[in-house]
């Protein structure tokens, strides 16, 4: 087992399943395990949520993708959104171990989705919470602008929904803070074969799986990425609904 922060796995739940990428949020080299957090949004993740400890999935391949560049940058700002808070905390942990002072921002749509706040507090110099509706902490990420006016950061890591990473990148850009974002485009093989995860970075086509998944947030074409992530939305929704209607029949494998 040789997982590193920043990498992902490809998981296939059953013989007829799709291959989905999940960012690694923790690993135990001695036990040979990796942990991943996921949101139950589609059929695969909903089925995954039904599995119990000791159950099997068809395939897990990985670790895939390039590991993060963890080193002593100085003062690091780590911003995580919703389910990607889990892998963000792995960044926080390793960044701190590398000697950085880390400020962590936990963001989500509503307060119920904020997770791992205590863990974040235990590992960070300072923790801020923000929600889209203001139900907890700051409303939105605008407060970051004030924060950056007051404090100087040497590096920024953003992991979360594309819109959040886009906002963070726009906020850090005027301050010239190198900002690393983790992209999660649609993937199939996850090893460079299909090109469905292509994304434009600095005007060049890059593959999320083998050139990333981390990229310079100031150069990513986020709007293009958002559009590509939605390509199969109708099919994904249909498949999820169909499965829920027929739930029990083909549910657990």
């Amino acid at each position: 087992m040789k997982a590193k922060p920043g990498q992902f796995i490809i998981l296939m739940i059953g013989e007829k399943g799709e291959r989905i990428p999940l960012t690694i949020s923790d690993f135990d080299a001695r036990k040979g395990t990796v942990s991943c957090a996921f949101h139950e949004v589609g059929k695969t993740t909903k089925k995954l949520g039904l599995l119990n400890e000791g159950d099997y999935v068809e395939t897990v391949t990985g670790p895939l993708g390039n590991p993060s560049e963890i080193k002593n940058y100085g003062k690091v700002l780590c911003v995580g959104g919703s389910v990607m808070i889990a892998p963000l905390l792995l960044q926080v942990k390793t960044m701190r171990e590398a000697g950085n002072s880390v400020t962590t921002v936990l963001g989500a749509r509503i307060k119920d989705v904020i997770m791992l706040e205590d863990e974040a507090k235990a590992m960070s110099e300072k923790v801020y919470v923000a929600t889209d509706d203001g139900s907890k902490g700051y409303q939105g990420l605008d407060f970051l602008k004030d924060l950056l006016k007051k404090e100087k950061f040497d590096h920024c890591v953003a992991m979360g929904p594309v819109v959040m990473m886009k906002t963070v990148s726009e906020i850090t850009k005027p301050y010239g803070i190198p900002t690393v974002v983790t992209l999660t485009p649609i993937m199939i093989d996850g090893m460079g074969m299909c090109g469905v995860c292509r994304v434009t970075v600095g005007g060049k086509m890059q593959f999320g799986c083998i050139d990333g998944p981390e990229f310079n947030g100031h150069k990513v074409d986020f709007d293009g990425l958002i559009q590509r992530q939605r390509i199969f939305l109708p099919e994904e929704r249909l498949n999820s609904v169909l499965w829920e209607i027929g739930g029990c029949a083909c549910g657990r494998q």
């Binding site: 291959r19 395939t59 391949t61 090109g195």
Partner: protein, 469 residues
């Protein structure tokens, strides 16, 4: 084999291959070519002159003794005939279907000088299918040598190298990154040309020979070549293929509805998107499908799109019919099924609807100039000839390049500027005990040339291992 006098009633043309009728087959994924019956196979075998100096063998990348197996077939000794083939080629049911025999063995056939050459491929397929129905016999293996080898990639090159090595008595573990073995045979070539059950059967045969298969192991990430060697492997063969799709760098290439041929075929073949939602991977096929490119992959993509319900499928190729790199047989099959070819045109940009989905493609007409470095006449754009083509699905089939992961993670492994691994004629790379062959060395080529390279490298690995104490 002195039987060199042609018999009087021998036909000039080859016995035609029975096929599914074009209308019916354009709506199903079943195999198009149905295979010879026993009578047809014998009739075709009888066309072989049993030349004293056979030319066909020199055209075969794995040097099958073609006259010998055909003689055995003529004598109705099918078991011996297939054993003769298998002593040189472990994947005959696959080669009989997808090898470009017309450019290899059959091109050299003497009968071809006066009529159609003996259809060696169809005979190979007949015997392989006959054997599969009977149940495979496992050949005797050499004494175990105690040497351990690893084969990276379970495609044509890797499967062949693995089979050869295990037959020579070495221990073999195959490391395959995907969740199914077969490489391009499973993710690339569609069911109607190469049924997956046949790939499975041939891979099973190789496993029965004693090859161990480890799936979901992406060398370069899960483990690296140096790590594999450190774990006690005496020699490694890399047959990781040319899996990286090429794009054209045109404006709008990232719009919805634009697939690389690899993505399209992986969805359909490997992930069985044609059976969505029974299988979870979706595919969306519009009404007007355009395939860009003129090779076998373009034909496979176009014919798959048609079977998935496209109303109209058009292949756009920048040269003329004469330069089409696809197999003649596949071009004929595609056209019979109703696929249209637009020659001497190339895309310039894509146009999308308000949702970011492709709705049209701007093209430019081409004319052919003098030959380029590939020997084919170079296409030159004709000024002012731009035109718009309506389309809602575009499949880009302009070639594949090597996957860079192994090269990036193996220190000291020398590569070309195109990213292919540098290997000598025996497959030896710049690293001691590391060999490579197939598309990862040559760039995108054929199944059989990859198999030939796997075989050659296996021989070299054997010599290396036996010399090493």
């Amino acid at each position: 084999m002195a039987d060199s006098k042609p018999k009087p009633k021998i036909r000039k043309d080859a016995v035609p291959m029975p096929k599914q009728n074009p209308k019916a087959r354009a709506k199903n994924f079943n195999e198009v070519a149905l295979g010879y019956t026993r009578e047809q196979a014998l009739e075709e075998a009888n066309r072989c002159l049993q030349c004293a100096k056979p030319q066909c063998v020199s055209g075969c990348p794995v040097e099958i003794d073609i006259p010998a197996f055909i003689k055995l077939l003529k004598e109705q000794k099918c078991a011996e005939a297939i054993a003769e083939i298998k002593s040189k080629n472990v994947l005959p049911a696959i080669c009989g279907r997808v090898c470009p025999q017309e450019d290899q063995c059959q091109q050299c056939c003497i009968v071809g000088k006066v009529g159609e050459p003996v259809n060696i491929g169809r005979l190979e397929r007949y015997l392989a299918d006959w054997e599969r129905e009977q149940g495979f016999t496992i050949p005797e293996k050499a004494q175990p040598t105690g040497k351990k080898t690893a084969v990276v990639g379970a495609g044509p090159a890797g499967l062949t190298a693995a089979a050869e090595l295990v037959k020579l008595g070495h221990e073999v573990t195959m490391l395959e990154a995907l969740h199914l073995p077969g490489g391009v045979l499973i993710y690339g070539i569609p069911e109607f040309r190469l049924p997956k059950s046949i790939v499975r059967a041939e891979v099973n045969y190789i496993e029965k020979l004693g090859v161990k298969l480890r799936l979901g192991n992406m060398v370069g990430r899960t483990n690296t070549i140096p790590e594999v060697i450190k774990n006690g492997i005496d020699a490694v063969f890399i047959g990781s293929g040319a899996g990286l799709p090429q794009f054209m760098g045109l404006p709008g290439e990232n719009f919805g509805g634009i697939y690389s041929a690899n993505e399209f075929l992986i969805r359909v073949n490997l992930m069985k998107a044609y059976a969505f939602p029974e299988y979870d991977t979706p595919i969306r096929i519009g009404k007007h499908v355009v395939v860009i490119g003129g090779g076998n992959v373009a034909m496979d993509s176009a014919r798959s799109a048609l079977r998935l319900g496209a109303e109209e499928v058009c292949i756009v190729y920048r040269r003329s019919r004469k330069e089409l790199p696809a197999r003649k047989e596949e071009i004929e099959n595609a056209e019979e099924e109703g696929i249209v070819c637009k020659f001497l045109a190339a895309p310039l940009r894509f146009i999308s609807d308000e949702k970011g989905w492709v709705k049209a493609m701007e093209c430019i007409c081409m004319e052919l100039g003098p030959p380029d470095e590939s020997g084919r006449r170079r296409p030159i754009p004709i000024k002012g000839s731009e035109f718009i083509m309506d389309t809602d699905t575009v499949i880009i089939a302009i070639g594949r390049t090597p996957n860079p992961i192994i090269q990036r993670t193996t220190e000291g492994l020398e590569v070309t500027k195109w990213g292919t691994i540098i290997a000598d004629e025996n497959g030896k790379t710049s690293l001691e005990s590391v060999y490579a062959g197939g598309d990862i060395v040559t760039g995108e080529a054929t199944v059989i040339s990859a198999m030939g390279a796997g075989k050659t490298a296996a021989k070299a690995i054997h010599e290396y291992l036996m010399k090493k104490k």
